[in-house]
Symmetry: C2
Subunit: 910 residues, 2 copies
Amino acid sequence: MPAMTTRRTKSSRTQAARKSGTKKTRTAADARGRATKRVYYFGASKTEGRIDQKMLLGGKGANLADMTSIGLPVPPGFTITTETCAEYSRGGNRLPSGLMDEVRRNITLLERELGKKFGDRRNPLLVSVRSGAAVSMPGMMDTVLNLGLTDEVVAGLAATTGNPRFAYDAYRRLINMFGDVVMGVDHHHFEHAFNAIKSRYGVKEDTAVPEDGLKELCIAYQSVYRQHVGEPFPQDPLRQLEQAVQAVFRSWNGERAVAYRRINEIKGLVGTAVNVQAMAYGNMGEDSGTGVAFTRDPSTGENVFYGEFLVNAQGEDVVAGIRTPRPISEMEAWNATVWKQLLAVRKKLERHYRDMQDIEFTVERGRLFMLQTRTGKRNGVASVRTAVEMVRERLIDERTALKRIPAGDLVQLLLPCFSEQDKRGAEVLTRGIAASPGAASGTLAFSASEAVERTNAGESVLLIRRETSPEDVAGMHKAVGILTSTGGKTSHAAVVAVGWGKCCVVGAGDLSIDADAGTVTIHGRTFGRSDTLSIDGSTGEVIVGALPRTVPQSISGDFAQVMKWSQKYATMGVRANADTPADARRAREFGAIGIGLCRTEHMFFEADRIQAVRQMILSERLSDRETALARLLPFQRADFVGIFTAMEGLPVTVRLLDPPLHEFVPHEEAAQQSLADAAGVTLADVQRRVAQLHEANPMLGHRGCRLAVTYPEILVMQVRAIVEAAADCHADGVDARPEIMIPLVGTRRELAILRELTERTVTEVLAQRNLRKLQIPIGTMIEIPRAAVTADEIAEVAEFFSFGTNDLTQMTFGFSRDDIGSFMPAYLEKGIVEKDPFQSIDVHGVGSLVSMACAKGRAKRAKLKLGVCGEHGGDPASIRFFQKCGLDYVSCSPFRVPVARLSAAQAALG
Amino acid sequence: MPAMTTRRTKSSRTQAARKSGTKKTRTAADARGRATKRVYYFGASKTEGRIDQKMLLGGKGANLADMTSIGLPVPPGFTITTETCAEYSRGGNRLPSGLMDEVRRNITLLERELGKKFGDRRNPLLVSVRSGAAVSMPGMMDTVLNLGLTDEVVAGLAATTGNPRFAYDAYRRLINMFGDVVMGVDHHHFEHAFNAIKSRYGVKEDTAVPEDGLKELCIAYQSVYRQHVGEPFPQDPLRQLEQAVQAVFRSWNGERAVAYRRINEIKGLVGTAVNVQAMAYGNMGEDSGTGVAFTRDPSTGENVFYGEFLVNAQGEDVVAGIRTPRPISEMEAWNATVWKQLLAVRKKLERHYRDMQDIEFTVERGRLFMLQTRTGKRNGVASVRTAVEMVRERLIDERTALKRIPAGDLVQLLLPCFSEQDKRGAEVLTRGIAASPGAASGTLAFSASEAVERTNAGESVLLIRRETSPEDVAGMHKAVGILTSTGGKTSHAAVVAVGWGKCCVVGAGDLSIDADAGTVTIHGRTFGRSDTLSIDGSTGEVIVGALPRTVPQSISGDFAQVMKWSQKYATMGVRANADTPADARRAREFGAIGIGLCRTEHMFFEADRIQAVRQMILSERLSDRETALARLLPFQRADFVGIFTAMEGLPVTVRLLDPPLHEFVPHEEAAQQSLADAAGVTLADVQRRVAQLHEANPMLGHRGCRLAVTYPEILVMQVRAIVEAAADCHADGVDARPEIMIPLVGTRRELAILRELTERTVTEVLAQRNLRKLQIPIGTMIEIPRAAVTADEIAEVAEFFSFGTNDLTQMTFGFSRDDIGSFMPAYLEKGIVEKDPFQSIDVHGVGSLVSMACAKGRAKRAKLKLGVCGEHGGDPASIRFFQKCGLDYVSCSPFRVPVARLSAAQAALG
């Protein structure tokens, strides 16, 4: 798939650079062995380079050669090799002797092929000069366009084309670019001169300057050039070219490029190549034009040619949207020959690259030139349809189809969204972090309780909060969408919303919320309870008013086909994280083969339980705690019966209580007073206990299995509820398969002690219910670095591991996910972390702890079941890594299950 | 060192048990190979066991054999082997045939040796029966004393001794113990009978029951026994013995013992041994007695025999303190023969064990019996003196001397303390956590500013706070001691106090502090500003009133000798953590060879700087921050000049700013207002910024090098200050050797970017000062798990690693050191962690990350310098581990430097 090279990520590029280190010697030897060939031509007459010669021709040079060699009408040109650059440096920054002769010979080839002449007045050949190393690299020389224009040539060009505006505009651009990029004249000097002209003609826009002004501008620019360079702008096209080539070579050892290579550890490259390519102009008259097209419809995937073109225009005119382009289908009427050519190109491209292509083309005086082709971006729907249809068309096989669909885009097929069309013209107020995809419009509610009330009264409300906490869960559930001003993708709001498949935008820092007043101010505009806003959970946009939503598809048709293939090729199972029967049913519908994480604490917040939970926490005596727990037991048991029934025949991993107790106590005085009244204690008592529960770093505090160590009675109640629920199910003929998971384990003995208590409780209940045959595996989460490091010991007492990669990432990096907002943007920008490690697993650091734990655990217990239940369980890149670790399953939120299933297949396919 | 076995920690015991698993088979084979010998005698006539036969004879049995075989007059007896216990279990809980014959033969040997007879009325042999496995194990059978008494024997004994009280008291104890321990009669039944007798005689104390009462008690006990056992108390001594032996064997497979072995993973043991030993009584008349003694003075180390004895008394009388014992020197007058014997024993013991011994002895009718000997406990002063003098006496060599001194006890030689004598009679109010040794008495100050003011006014004040924060540092420094009601050994108060060698007690949970009122209430008693309290930083005691303090020694005499030897044998260097010239000088005095951690933030809190720091934090624009930083620069530079000068010629590792910025901003409104006034902003602005800086988990937040990534200007200012200070020093002929340490690094690129900025700044300043030759190594702390895991990459850009084991422990365990108070006690109690991992490194988990990082780092950079600067750098056990990792140095607070130096020597000696 050569075209894929253009879509490479930075990391794969770096890898390529590293690999290529070994090739370098060979290439250099080749070069020295033969008479040194320094220039490689590409064009209709011949194409000397190949796609596999990136080391010698640079990435761009090799690609131009490839496109040309499959017969695309690419503007011809030639590439000066990277070896030549090395020669230049070795020779004390001097062009190797003979190089310019070789360049001249290639210019001649170009002239012949195009029937133009370099420096000619009537029909001049103009070229672009671009740098291009084997690895894309900022800091190298920028492009110079229109090279070959001189005072004489421009006048001729103006006359020949009958378009002096075009000619002088091209010339002034050349002088500016050449001066700036090649000779290092500060750009603002040119700008200054341009401003003088504009004010003289009383215009504001560049485009409004008349022809005469442009001519004057060329003169003014030349004077700027002379003043700063110390010599006149070169009037010899070949001299221009020689200077440009030298500038490219010089830039290779420039400060910025050297620093970039050092920081990014780009080694083994000898230099940059130089690409010299004929210019093609779509703005040379009514027989010229330019356009962009997709070989299929990128929004639906339908197999139709899809695009637009503009007559007598440059590429940038299409993008700028000043003129309205015509649909590509109207091209036949304009120029049937070119149209036929273009259809042939379309076919050829899909046959060659075996994928949908996104192309740019220019027609210069009736002659078609392909400027670029790359794999076409498409949305999730189109991805699925294209892939499935291309299999039917025998263009690709099932494996290729699966590998090609960006797994993450599948959520677009399941959640409501605003279409691009409907969003056009919508007023976007600000953009937060797209935390949970989907789309929602609603009036504004500023507290969870308000959201519950107003929803119950029939309103669609958007819950707006600074941040959310477990106390807000009921209101979050009722709201159509959630919008917060702080937090990131793994903040409370985000995690809960993703689990529900509810639209959520977080960290919208521009929001200034006054919850008491019931207003939110965004960039000076204030919205109240009766105003409607919309949020787009896929883009993070916050929009004024309501927008129509596109209804989601269910899993059928092409989507179902993709899921079927996924099942065929995947070796890892996909479970879901679900806490309620409804979530469990949805997960099952989407193909989950079990629940990998059932969080019992979410059940604690329901109105009918929270009082008992709080009384339990307030109790100072064991017996009082046991009384409160006894009140909770029936609720928990009923919850489990519901989930086990929904997942009949499939495993359900129940995690015992995890969050610190302070998350369950009220922090507002009114709620504290009502708790005090209910518990028969004073407000001061409640406040004292709340203060006592406060922790400096709750993430590293009294939570997880640490609660079970200090309050074993909580564990006993929960285990009893699980086993009794399973027994009730079996009595009703429902095959319940609970697994008990103990969270936050750090040492073997911690788990050993709790496991013993769990086993004792299980045995006791099973004996009471006379149900001895039921096997309930007991395992642990691996989410503390120490647990990963000592996984061999822990495996001695665990039947399964489930990696809690959220917490493991927090502790391995020392990042609190609630607090990274202050530095993560800088970290991403500076490339300190390539991706937010809470979204995609940090393979090198956190990942190495995961793989270490897998290896150590399996060494001790060969049949140890391994899974993951952090946010990463639904992330395609992470799933690829988990496949390598040998995990048995990943577990993610129900709406990510299809994504994970496809990702698992992709991972298995390698 | 056989005696050492009795002092083993649980962990070494467990190890012994594991090792012994391999021996088991061999021993079993031995036993099967020969005619099975089941009983091993120890006594004057012969001693069949050896110290190395723990697997066969159990720990206690082997020790009794050892003491006997060196000629100590141990009450003779015999040991029934652990193999016999295994036979008993295999045979369906039946004693092997022939065993009781062998027992009888050994009883005959005993009778001959002691001239007493088992079951005899006039001169009966009485024995104790004790269990004893190779590993000490709770849950096994308790001791039975006085076995051999019957109705007949007791009457005879009463007559022969002329001491019926003694005889009947012994008998009632036997019936009780035998009933309870051997036959499982609940103890409270006996107690009930005893209470009936006591109330009949109208007495309250057991000892007040008259002779007749004791006789009645024996009858009553026998009736209790008969009632619950179903048969009369056995009147045949051999039957008693047989039943007791069976009970011991039975207890091996009892529920408690089995559970204990399972939980503690004690494997490879076949059973328990039974020790039958003649009783010896010191209360048989005026020719009998008992005493305890040390072979040298344990409080000074002086080579004098030191102890006490009581005539006609049992061991427990000495301990109970009812009668006043006589000094051991008066024994000669009482019984010159026994005195001479005892002196011979003293000499023999020191020759045999080559260490000071703590002995217990009994004289029964003029005959000396040694009941126990063990290594004598001693304080730091005595440790040092004994060790040095024993080398002079050629009892031990230098190596042994060094290995024997508990390194941690050396702090006692440097810090003031309350002597045990002075504390006698003192009123201890409560006990907190002993955080920083020393002793302090003072009136109470409830805020840092109050502590400063009142100290400046000439008072000695104790600072009492719930907890301390960096804002309190000035007051903490002024106070004579610090007392907090929350926090642990690594809380802010503790860490800062240890650094200064200032007395500190933390986590005194009984304190109820009302800072506004200026009172503290402890168990209902309230103390105010004018009251004086004392705290003992070595015990955690909080005491009413002032106590005299013992003045510290300097490093001279024997102490200096120990330090000299340490230097000779240690291979790791010892640096100090010091932030001020005074600390640096003290560290140097104590032998530090550099500063391993100079925390620049401590300098930020000084009154003349904090305003600039706060303005810097408030600034929203870079230029404002730079202005504020420019104001700070001269202060920082001057600080560094002071420290570099104090450490002339030695390396000083300066850590760049580490704590989160919110630690520097005021949290009280008044202070916020004054900051607002100074900065020319509103109170609301300040409060908004303070709120913005708030973090959910500051430990995992925006701190360390993350600050330098987002505010590079802070790094630049600090580096500039360091380099300018070094330049100033060199200009004055002072050889300054700074090293720059970047904290909290998690990824290679993070360090690479900051290193580049650091290097650029260093180069710039050196060029300005024309001082190009100065080499300033740049390194990082390894304190984030990810850094340890990816240490190979990080080593590419670091010249040294310094392990920040405090934070590394926090993140590896997921323990916030501020919050572990709620569960750490339970964790220690349940053995989930053996020691507080913040005090002594968790070798298995955190340690394995440290050793991994060392190996990975050195693999990439062979000359990578490795050190540690967490609290563990001053902990002997941790230092032993660091030696194994191959660290170049440890760094600790100045007062721990001697401890670390000795520990390093011990570690090197293995």
